[in-house]
């Protein structure tokens, strides 16, 4: 048994390992923690001593000592209780407070770390999972740190103080009445590890139920078409039956454990009553001693009960901390390198791709791309979905780094340009528009330090979003998202274009940024873009020929390779992919007009 316990203890030690990271935070609160521990010790002493006063009072009453003396005891009791309360107050406030402050810092650091990680990381990690780490896992760690830490320290002291007081009062009675305690301790320990396992099963079943509900709701159409409603209900019913059964097993185990605990406590009291009663009758101890013993026994209950709970807590915190460490130990893939020249403060906007290849997990997406875009030139990229257009443009702001070859801006490898400077020179409109749930003005001025109203108006005019805003009561202050208006796809895209324009970038990249805008507006936007932006480098990806036909250079990308390039007229003459697309789009237009 003791070997078994030893293994358990060493297991607990390894459990503590992941929590080592917290050291850094705890060190900052060294003073608070030391004060906290001192307060815990004092409060535990007072807590353990209170029954002693009760003992003196009762013995005094038994001896018939006068009321004034008793009044002193009563007042002493209140006095000690008041001090105890005051200390408890400070202690809770400090110790639990530290845990929440650590939580705050940990979460901040977690967020800051996430901000440094590259696009690839966010593709591989689900948002929901990261959020669970930032909230649930951090919370689990905090609770263990606060309540867990407080109880662990406090319980140890309470136990020893009460034990010492009991032993000094009467050795025999102490040992006898504590007989059930080892059993209680073991019961607690083992049932908690049992609960932990059963609970995990219950959780698994719960996620099966969630999966089923999810599947059912997303598959409504098929379920209805094949009249599978009843069958679905049966399946759902079955899952829930199992869940019910598991929950009841857990309930049974819990009931059994709590009741056994109570019986064991009862037996301790019973032993006390029998042996203690006899001891009082044979004048070995006083009645006051006996009463004090009963109170002490009652006081020992909670520390014992919380013992199993704390172990459970540590187990969870350790798992949670592991999950946090996984993220915090991930090195950012994209950052400044040894060759970075920090003296570069601005860029002109000449771009060159030199033998650039890129692959996602061994799957080649771009193959040996060579391309030169002079300052002020407009490059258009067209090609089927999945041909690598987005990937190509993502290389420029270093959202991803080329697997082979190099991307040069102003003749320098972009890895040698400070990431910040590089990105500062780029205005990017991603394929999937992402706006924040703030006001439209805040969204447009997202990428600049201070935005002037005039500039915002100018950026909004070019994208023509300002025209739509006139119909909104709050104009530029209109909130976007759940608590504001839901913009149409085209309105969102145009806001995103203004956001990029406001930076007055040297390089403008539009990744299919007008796909949800109607052709008429699109032409308008393109026109004013060309007027305002003729001397900056721009890269435009589009599926519509009408968008790109005026570009200085058009490349057709297919399967990660440039298969055609030239101006609109040249490509139409080529009778290849571009020419075919051109013809199709003319037909579509004709059909639309029918």
């Amino acid at each position: 048994m003791s070997i078994f316990l030893l293994i358990k203890v060493t297991n607990t030690m390894t459990l503590l390992k992941p929590l080592y990271r917290l050291n850094k935070y705890l060190r900052e609160y060294k003073k608070d923690i030391i004060i906290g521990i001192i307060l815990i010790i004092i409060s535990d002493v007072l807590f353990a001593v209170l029954p002693k006063i009760l003992q003196y009072t009762i013995d005094a009453i038994a001896k018939g000592i006068d009321l004034r003396q008793i009044a002193t005891y009563a007042l002493l009791l209140i006095g000690i209780a008041a001090i105890y309360a005051g200390i408890r107050f400070l202690m809770r406030k400090i110790v639990v407070g530290v845990s929440r402050k650590v939580e705050y810092q940990l979460r901040n650091d977690f967020f800051r770390h996430l901000q440094r990680l590259s696009l690839r990381f966010f593709v591989n990690n689900r948002t929901g999972d990261l959020m669970a780490r930032a909230t649930n896992d951090i919370n689990a760690v905090t609770i263990t740190l606060g309540m867990g830490g407080l109880l662990t320290i406090s319980n140890g002291f309470i136990f020893s103080f009460i034990f010492v007081l009991m032993i000094t009062t009467n050795v025999k009675l102490t040992l006898l009445s504590l007989i059930p305690f080892p059993f209680i301790l073991f019961l607690m320990y083992f049932s908690y590890s049992y609960f932990y396992q059963t609970f995990e099963k219950v959780q698994e079943q719960f996620s099966s139920i969630t999966d089923k509900a999810q599947e059912n709701i997303s598959g409504t159409r098929v379920i209805k078409a094949y009249v599978q409603e009843l069958n679905e209900i049966d399946q759902f019913n079955e899952l829930n039956q199992t869940y019910l059964k598991q929950n009841l097993i857990l309930a049974k185990a819990r009931g059994l454990m709590w009741s056994s605990m109570e019986v064991l406590f009862g037996i301790a009291l019973l032993i006390l009553l029998w042996f203690g009663g006899n001891a009082v009758m044979s004048d070995q101890i006083t009645l006051g001693n006996l009463v004090a013993f009963t109170v002490w026994l009652g006081m020992l209950g909670w520390p014992i009960i919380s013992f199993g709970w704390i172990l459970n807590l540590i187990q969870r915190a350790s798992a949670s901390m592991n999950r946090l460490n996984e993220i915090m130990d991930t090195e950012p893939l994209i950052q400044d390198t040894t060759c970075t020249d920090h003296s570069i403060k601005g860029l002109k906007g000449e771009i060159e791709f030199k033998n650039v290849s890129f692959s996602y997990n061994e799957k080649p997406v771009l193959k040996n791309i060579n391309l030169k875009i002079k300052t002020g030139m407009t490059l258009a990229i067209i090609g089927p979905t999945g041909s690598g257009k987005t990937t190509l443009t993502n290389l420029i702001p270093r959202m991803i780094d080329a697997t082979d070859g190099a991307v040069l801006v102003d003749g320098r490898d972009i890895k040698c340009i400070p990431v910040k400077t590089l990105r500062n020179s780029i205005g990017f409109v991603p394929q999937e528009t992402f706006l924040f749930s703030e006001s439209i003005e805040e969204n447009i001025s997202f990428g600049v330090e201070e935005a002037i109203g005039e500039d915002i108006q100018w950026a909004a005019d070019i994208s023509t979003i300002s025209h739509d805003l006139e119909n909104f009561p709050d104009k530029f202050q209109t909130l976007i998202g759940e608590r504001g208006v839901n913009l149409s796809g085209g309105q969102k895209q145009r806001t995103a274009i203004s956001r990029a324009l406001l930076r007055k970038p040297k390089i403008l990249i539009l990744d299919d940024a007008l796909s949800s805008v109607d052709t008429y507006t699109e032409e308008k936007i393109m026109k004013s873009l060309l007027e305002n932006y003729f001397n900056q480098t721009s890269i435009i990806i589009s599926h519509r020929i009408s968008t790109i036909k005026h570009a200085d250079l058009i490349i057709v990308l297919d399967n990660g390779e440039i298969i055609e390039q030239g101006t609109h007229d040249e490509l139409v003459k080529l009778r290849g992919f571009y020419a075919q697309l051109h013809r199709q789009q003319l037909l579509e237009k004709a059909l639309e007009e029918m």
Binding site: T127, G128, I209, I223, M281, L587
Partner: protein, 603 residues
């Protein structure tokens, strides 16, 4: 993930209408509830016996020093412990049992209700929200049903029991003990109120952190490209700090709360000692009584301070039940007719008669029609193709035929009977529907073909798979028909999934076959297989194909051309080509190029 804002709205803790409706779920178990309350009563009473036995032992034996009888008391005490052991187990189990049963019932009821709601409902509600109703919201009720309702009774019983015993033992000392209750009440109600406010702030603020976090994680690329890391971090820091503030506030009040409760307890103890001693000298109370009061006073204060803990459980249960009832109160809008007609022998004849349909209204309140005056007629066994640009209304025609939605105007007739007069299940059983995106369930290949239909044997499943050319690839799977389909069939190619869907449709032996772009996303390898499968499927069946492939269309007797919600052209391939109208253009656009391209690929 969309629910963070909903979480911000914490409803009233107590709403009698909701509460009444919640309690009706206990009705089927009323006998068990009564039993539970009864057991609880006894368990509580037994709880009070222990200290009372000690009182007797002190007064009868210990103080007068008479050892005979003490052993008796010890024995009785032991007996009480054993009985209490049984009752406690029974009580906790019964409480959990009732709670879990009720929650089980509610969960099934919601799920059953969801099965009856029409597609229009699912169009309006995101999947995530509905899943939350069935799972998380119900779980919140579970806590209330198994920990909240009954244990409140327990607390109340305990309080009443203690009050009764204390008063009957010595009413003066009892009243003195109770004299601290007003202070306790003050603390419980006022500090708890502060704690509740802090608690609510914590929830609201963590919800804000979550929302902001989610936004930043999804938009991290934009944040990084626009060099906004610092600003956004500052905003996050602000939210995080305000969350910390709420926590520190709640810690502050909690730090006041528990020590004050302890202090009041000690004051009561001091009062008991002081007055107890006085009464003892007067000979009014015994030592036993004194000890009894000391013991009882401890048990007295816990439930009072706990009672408000239950308030939080109640509050979240109310919020969840409100959302659940809101869902349950959505009446299904497509229901069976009161007196359904039956088709003895359905021949497969379909007619659309001046059908108008709108999913929603325009801003000015007029219906936004996606189908305008659509009429066509299909004779038994006839096969038609519907073509048109995306958004022309092709899929809507099919949804109406399956009665996923009801027509706004006009009628749809099967063998001359309006489908509104047929039982929905019967109607849908006539139809075999294959959609572009094949939906596979978590389960084996066999289960995905057969679905829940027990009448379809494994032989029939295999036969259907053979008929549509799905058998060869299925038999190559490691577990053939018992191969589990992971994550919506991620391990199968699009063509293979499509063949499975054909097998499913065929296994159900429908009278009408409907294919909605079922062949458009298929690779060239499966193309021929699918072509053969289709011929087999369509033999002797009234069929409607919405197709992107010329080969599929050419198998049909007639082609209907939809354009902007109207039927604009109708006829055979050759007739329509001659018209040089919409079909001609569509043909050039969709079919001709595709053929060119696939031939280019094979070059």
């Amino acid at each position: 993930m969309n629910n963070y804002h909903e979480e911000e709205v914490l409803g009233k803790a107590y709403d009698s209408r909701l509460l009444k409706r919640l309690l009706t779920y206990l009705r089927p178990y009323w006998l068990y509830v009564v039993l539970g309350v009864f057991i609880l009563l006894i368990a509580t009473a037994l709880d009070l016996v222990g200290p009372f036995l000690i009182k007797i032992a002190i007064d009868r034996n210990i103080v007068p020093k008479i050892s005979t009888g003490l052993f008796h008391i010890v024995l009785i005490y032991f007996g009480v412990q054993i009985v209490q052991f049984g009752f406690k187990i029974a009580q906790t189990y019964l409480m959990q049992w009732i709670g879990q049963k009720v929650v089980f019932d509610i969960r099934i009821e919601i799920f059953r209700h969801l099965q009856r709601l029409s597609l229009a409902f699912f169009d309006r509600n995101p999947v995530g929200r509905l899943v939350t109703r069935v799972t998380t919201d119900v779980e919140a009720l579970s806590e209330w049903f198994s920990a909240g309702v009954v244990s409140v009774f327990g607390d109340v019983f305990l309080l009443i029991g203690i009050i009764v015993v204390m008063i009957s033992v010595n009413w003066k000392l009892a009243l003195i003990t109770f004299s601290v209750i007003p202070i306790l009440a003050y603390i419980v109600f006022f500090i708890r109120k502060k704690i509740r406010e802090a608690y609510r702030d914590i929830r609201v603020r963590i919800a804000r952190i979550n929302a902001y976090l989610q936004e930043n994680l999804s938009g991290m690329m934009v944040v990084q490209i626009f060099n906004r890391e610092k600003k956004n971090f500052n905003k996050f820091d602000e939210l995080n700090a305000s969350h910390l503030e709420a926590h520190l506030r709640s810690i502050f009040y909690y730090s006041i709360f528990w020590p004050s409760v302890d202090l009041i307890e000690s004051i009561a103890l001091a009062l008991i000692i002081w007055f107890g001693a006085m009464f003892k000298y007067e000979g009014v109370v015994t030592f036993g009584t004194l000890v009894l009061f000391i013991e009882y006073s401890k048990r007295f204060f816990r439930p009072i301070s706990d009672l408000t803990d239950k308030y939080n459980i109640l509050q979240s249960a109310m919020a969840s039940s409100e959302r659940i009832f809101l869902l349950l109160d959505n009446k299904p809008d497509i229901v069976n007719p009161a007196a359904p007609q039956t088709l003895r022998e359905f021949s497969g004849e379909i007619e659309f008669r001046n059908v108008w349909f709108a999913y929603k209204n325009n801003h000015d309140g007029t219906p936004d029609y996606v189908l305008k005056d659509v009429s066509f007629h299909l004779k038994t066994g006839e096969k038609i193709a519907i073509v048109g640009a995306t958004g022309a209304g092709k899929s809507s025609i099919i949804s109406l035929l399956c009665r996923f939605y009801d027509v706004t105007q006009g009628e749809i007739l099967l063998d001359g009977i309006n489908i509104k007069n047929l039982k929905i299940e019967d109607l849908r059983r006539y139809i075999g529907l294959v959609l572009q995106d094949v939906f596979l369930f978590a389960g084996t290949v066999e289960e995905n073909i057969r679905l829940g239909n027990k009448d379809i044997s494994l032989d029939m499943v295999t036969q259907a798979a053979r008929d549509v050319n799905a058998h060869p690839f299925i038999s190559r799977l490691p577990n053939t028909y018992q191969e589990p389909m992971m994550e919506r069939g991620a391990s199968l190619s699009t063509g293979q999934k499509q063949l499975l869907a054909f097998a499913r449709a065929l296994a159900f032996k429908p009278d009408i076959l409907i294919l909605d772009e079922a062949t458009s996303s298929v690779d060239t390898e499966s193309e021929i297989l699918i072509q053969q499968a289709l011929e087999k499927l369509m033999t002797n069946r009234t069929s409607i194909c919405i197709a992107h492939r010329l080969s599929t269309i050419q198998n049909c007797d007639r082609i209907i051309v939809m354009h902007k919600g109207k039927i604009r052209e109708e006829g055979t391939h050759q007739q329509l080509l001659k018209l040089k109208g919409i079909y001609f253009k569509l043909y050039q656009l969709q079919f001709k190029d595709r053929n060119i391209k696939s031939s280019a690929v094979s070059d």
